[in-house]
């Protein structure tokens, strides 16, 4: 049965290689495999995406998704602690992993002939992780060091952490991916074990392979290494909706720094129906109008012309499992406060809401969207990231073309409409950095507006 199916796939592949690329196949145990053939170099990237991230955590054990990611390198019955990385290194490969709110991903980059090695090791640790107390007790310290480095000693990261904690009260995007320090201090190896047993299963994973490979051969290889793994009944996922926001929210963070910092986050939808939705595409174009190139509105107006800001930016991710935010951030220039900068940003938003965008601006932003589509194909790793991100978010790699078309179809009226609908106070959270002196004594900056940023 299986062999026949593969044969059919192979024939299809021959018929329309370019048109059909990538290729998809699902093993009987639920593991989805997506292969993109790219013969530009004799290498391959293998990424295994687990549909579990910090948004699946519960209070008291925040950070466990990321801790488990670290523990995945700490040995199985067959491959002792530390050996995973060494085996890949000796095969001339590179490996790593990353944890995000929506997913946990492990990858290997190798000469193309070494792909079986990556599959063997990944299949092994999907089912046979050792998770010993001894290894856990060391690795949890490493993770706490990571938190100190990334967040506790990084003023802007602290602001970002607080912004999410305030913008999302019920939804688990509330807590940081790395976890609250107190949860890390209290974490036990049993927490990591439970996490692993709940979520690490072929039916909760997507295997993405990009490289100088033949898809049918990769499907056979996936069957050979992952085929025997047993699916699990996954925990019930209860969708947690963030309740309606009923007014502006503000939070201030004090930390040792010189420059103040401002983040403004507006609640927005994300893409759920690729063909039917239009707002997420319009919001994406809106982000480009504000910050898509150095003469885009925010930089041109606030950094270059009015000199309110030293840096300013805007961003919006239309693809995610959880709710969206449209974020504008910046640092005020010398003598200006976060209050001044916020007002400057609000003026730009008001201008957009009143006058909309010009056709010229719209075309300029779209030209970059189109070019980026070509540029990203220079990196096999990034091509894999696009596929995995779509799959994890409940969309499909098949949607990539339509995503591009839909972005190209966005009209000036639509951009104006989403600006009016979503960039308003009732869905806004503002987070600011209140810079503190290093010695804890005198203020680092004494410009007049500085005192007003906490309302």
């Amino acid at each position: 049965m299986l062999r026949k199916m593969l044969l059919c796939l192979a024939l299809l592949g021959m018929a329309g290689a370019a048109a059909a690329n990538p290729y998809e196949y699902r093993l009987a145990n639920g593991l989805k495999v997506v292969v993109k053939e790219d013969p530009r170099a004799p290498v391959v990237v293998s990424q295994i995406w687990y549909r579990v991230g910090s948004m699946d955590e519960v209070n008291g054990t925040t950070g466990v998704a990321h801790v488990l990611e670290h523990m995945m390198f700490k040995g199985t019955r067959k491959v002792p602690a530390g050996q995973f990385s060494k085996i890949i290194a000796e095969a001339g490969g590179r490996e790593n992993a990353f944890t995000n709110r929506d997913y946990t991903t492990y990858f290997e980059q190798l000469q193309v002939g070494q792909l079986p090695l990556a599959f063997r090791l990944e299949a092994d640790r999907m089912a046979n992780l050792a998770l010993t107390e001894r290894e856990f007790s060391k690795e949890i310290k490493v993770v706490m060091e990571e938190r100190r480095m990334r967040t506790d000693d990084n003023p802007q990261a602290l602001v970002d952490e607080q912004l999410n904690a305030v913008a999302f009260e019920a939804h688990p995007y509330h807590h940081p991916v790395i976890g609250w320090m107190n949860d890390l201090e209290n974490m036990r190896v049993e927490d990591a074990r439970a996490w692993y047993q709940h979520w690490y299963a072929p039916n909760n994973a997507t295997l993405v392979v990009v490289g100088d490979v033949k898809h049918d051969a990769v499907f056979r290889l996936a069957q050979q290494y992952f085929g025997a793994l047993k699916p699990r009944v996954l925990p019930l996922r209860k969708e947690q909706k963030e309740p309606l926001q009923r007014g502006i929210k503000r939070v201030a963070v004090k930390a040792p720094a010189k420059q103040p910092y401002l983040m403004m986050a507006y609640r927005t939808p994300v893409l759920r129906d690729v063909a039917g939705d239009w707002e997420p595409y319009a919001l994406k174009i809106l982000a480009g109008v504000l910050d898509g190139y150095s003469a885009a509105r925010l930089n041109q107006s606030l950094v270059r012309e009015s000199r309110l800001a030293n840096d300013v930016g805007a961003g919006y991710d239309e693809i995610s499992r959880g709710p969206g935010l449209f974020i504008i951030e910046g640092t005020p220039s010398e003598g200006k406060s976060v209050v001044d900068l916020e007002q400057g940003i609000r003026n730009e938003i008001a201008r957009l809401q009143r006058d909309g965008v010009s056709e010229e601006e719209l075309q300029r932003v779209k030209a970059q969207v189109v070019a980026a589509q070509v540029y990203q194909r220079d990196s096999m790793f990034y091509q894999g990231m696009l596929i995995g991100n779509l799959e994890i978010s409940g969309l499909s790699w098949r949607d990539e073309k339509m995503l591009l078309e839909k972005l190209k179809d966005v009209t000036a009226d639509q951009v104006k409409e989403v600006a009016n609908k979503y960039l308003h106070n009732d869905g806004l959270t503002v987070a600011t950095l209140d810079p503190q002196p290093l010695d804890g004594k005198h203020p680092a900056q004494t410009s007049a507006g500085e005192r007003h940023d906490v309302r």
Binding site: N96, Q111, D153, A257, E334, D378
Partner: protein
């Protein structure tokens, strides 16, 4: 927002990470000189409709003086903010209209510009026209300069409150003394404040000259088209007015020095090291392979094993050589909770001392070679990576078959060479040690 198991170490220049080379059997590099003396390196790559071009000059931050440090950086930064009568806004819009990406690049040795564009005619020619104008006729508008100075100064003031940059700058200053490699790349608040438009114009005319230009081209164009591009980009460049002034030698450290800097951070930032080697050092390959074993090879390295894997003392611990035109730094770095700073430092030092005294084991050397040779094709798997190597080969005058020889050169390295090279270049008793936010008990 992502959390990754290992940290990438961003150095002065991302390219510096690429200590090694590539070139699958015969990366077909074509090389020639433009009519006015620029050296051109070209790889034709037809797989995707895109074109990458970089132009580099001997205009990096080592050309700064102590009085005007930050000048090289500001000159490079200002290039595309007004040129040939076009305003920064007009330049930015015209680039965006064709989806092109153009940016300034700078490191201690090199400065220049790098372009990525679609290879289709309209897009390509509009992007290249702008790049040529920017390289040949930068205006350095006075009002823009005032603004950018203020922005650089604000960024420097911010850096001066953050433990990572505080430590890095102190380390550089201590290992290089009076050599310009000691100077912070973006300058200091007081030196940037005194830079004038004339300084930038003078720096540009002296350093952005056709004779030192290295033009690298990778992508979907023919050799003839590449030649046309090289002529267009180099034609209007200033000519060298004699050579650049010679730079002082990098002096070796005569004694150990420990610098303790207070900071309220929860972690201590620890840096150790000394001046290392230049690009053309005969010990380059033994040190490169040896450093993979000491602290360059991620989870396979001795430092990671001792500091992170065995004891959980740090998330990131690394060592690297950054070979430059003159001896670039050898550096070990880590961050750890401040009350365990002394313990982590002792373990790091013990690991280094043992490695220098005994060298690697035969098994370690074998594994290092397996990785460095086996991962070779990964170094050449995108146009952008190939462009980086062309620029490297061009600027440092490496042989055209540098990449083809890379694997052989790695393979030839012996245990005795690694040990001997480390003993000659890395003296653990004469290092600079910088600790920002140290152990309060001490």
């Amino acid at each position: 927002m992502m959390y990754v198991k290992t940290v990438s170490i961003w150095l002065w220049s991302a390219l510096a990470l690429v200590l090694s080379g590539i070139a699958q059997a015969g990366l077909p590099i074509q090389h020639w000189q433009s009519a006015n003396g620029a050296r051109v390196y070209f790889v034709e790559s037809r797989g995707l409709p895109l074109l990458d071009v970089s132009v580099d000059f001997d205009a990096g931050t080592r050309r700064d003086s102590a009085e005007k440090s930050g000048l090289a950086n500001l000159t490079s930064h200002m290039l595309n903010l007004g040129a040939g009568g076009l305003s920064e806004e007009e330049i930015s819009r015209r680039l965006a209209d064709v989806g092109a990406q153009l940016g300034a690049t700078i490191d201690p040795d090199r400065a220049g510009m790098s372009l990525r564009t679609l290879s289709s005619t309209r897009e390509r020619s509009q992007a290249l026209d702008l790049m040529a104008k920017i390289l040949q006729q930068p205006d350095f508008p006075a009002t823009v300069l005032q603004r950018e100075k203020a922005r650089v100064i604000a960024a420097l003031q911010e850096e001066d409150t953050q433990p990572g940059p505080i430590g890095q700058k102190a380390f550089q200053a201590a290992i290089y003394g009076s050599h310009p490699y000691a100077l912070p790349g973006a300058g200091k608040v007081e030196t940037v404040a005194r830079l004038q438009r004339q300084d930038l114009l003078d720096f540009f005319r002296q350093h952005y000259v056709s004779e030192s230009a290295v033009i690298s081209i990778v992508g979907d164009v023919s050799r003839e088209e590449a030649a046309g591009i090289a002529e267009q980009l180099s034609a209007g460049l200033p000519h060298a007015n004699g050579g650049l002034p010679p730079l002082p030698e990098v002096a070796p450290l005569l004694q150990a020095e420990t610098i303790l800097l207070p900071h309220p951070a929860s972690q201590s930032h620890i840096l150790l090291g000394m001046p290392g080697i230049s690009r053309n050092d005969v010990d380059y390959f033994p040190l490169y392979v040896g450093n993979y074993i000491l602290g360059g090879g991620g989870f396979a390295s001795r430092l990671t094993e001792a500091v992170r894997e065995k004891r959980g003392l740090a998330y990131s611990v690394y060592s690297y050589f950054m070979p430059l035109a003159q001896p670039g730094p050898f550096q070990i770095g880590l961050q750890t909770k401040r009350d365990q700073a002394n313990e982590a430092l002792e373990i790091t030092l013990a690991t280094l001392r043992r490695f220098v005294a005994d060298g690697p084991t035969a098994e370690e050397l074998r594994h290092a070679k397996q990785n460095l040779i086996g991962s070779f094709p990964l170094r050449l798997d995108s146009n952008r990576k190939i462009l980086g190597y062309l620029s490297l080969i061009g600027y440092y005058n490496l042989p055209l078959d540098y990449l083809d020889q890379f694997v052989k050169n790695v393979d030839k390295v012996t245990l005795a060479q690694v040990k001997s090279a480390f003993q000659r270049h890395v003296n653990p008793e004469k290092m600079v040690t910088v600790i920002v936010g140290g152990d309060d008990k001490k």
